[in-house]
């Protein structure tokens, strides 16, 4: 087996981001095929990344209002 479990954890971002070479991708998958713990690790890692994508916070309404008001003011002063 080319990769150990430790190697797998170090390559997981490259794997999920599609940055592993074709050969390394095959070796990564071969390891997963035989290693339950690394399959669990990859599933958890992916779930964590998906949760990051859903945790984006928008600014508060008041802050948006204030910023847009300032931008409108700037537009008007630029036009006049």
């Amino acid at each position: 087996m080319k990769f150990s479990c430790k190697d797998i954890t170090e390559l997981t971002s490259a794997y999920v981001d599609g940055k592993l070479s074709f050969i390394d991708r095959i070796h990564y998958r071969l390891h997963l095929f035989v290693c339950h713990n690394c399959r669990v690790y990859l599933d958890q890692f992916k779930a964590m990344l998906a949760s990051f994508g859903k945790s984006r916070r928008e600014p508060e309404a008041k802050q948006v209002d204030d910023l847009v008001a300032r931008m409108m003011q700037e537009r008007q002063s630029k036009d006049s």
Binding site: S4, K6, D17, L49, S55, V64, L67, M71, M72
Partner: protein
Amino acid sequence: MDERALIQQLLAGDQQAYRTVVRSYHGAMVSMARAIAGAAVADDIVQDAWIAVVRALPRFEGRSSLRTWILQIVGNTAKTRRRREQRSVAAGDAAEVEGIALAGRFQPDGHWQLPPAHWGASSPEQLLEQDQLKGVIDQAIEKLPESQRTVLTLCDIEGVDMEDVCKILEVSESNGRVLLHRARTRVWNEIDKFQRGETK
């Protein structure tokens, strides 16, 4: 909404279009400003950058996405401010690239010594549903070294391309990817510790 249509609406002074871009990009702008010039001045920088966006919009040529263009303006505004205040650069600090989050979890031959815990919550929704767990994740991100937190926030939370992030922060893409992986691994480790009952 189609970006070209959005830009036309911004040029026409449509307030709703301005609200849309502020809601969409403000968070990423604050992260970028904070990384370059520090948390204390990040809000100021972003306010100045929004004004610069209004002024420069008629000259926007569409060679990059609107978000990338706006983030470049924030980057330039923040760098000017940093030079003025002579703050040292934190992004890409080599020391922050070092440090293995999973030290002690493997046997000498590279097999798991302490394998991943069983996570009661395993879907992204479940991870965010539990307030306590969400707090653990937020805290883990906040505790990351600055350059790691910035890359994770911009790429994984705000969805900005790694290439754009690295260009504006002036770090190599390979360094950026190392920072991102270290950040993700640290956060995973904190969630795992929580699931294991090691943190409350």
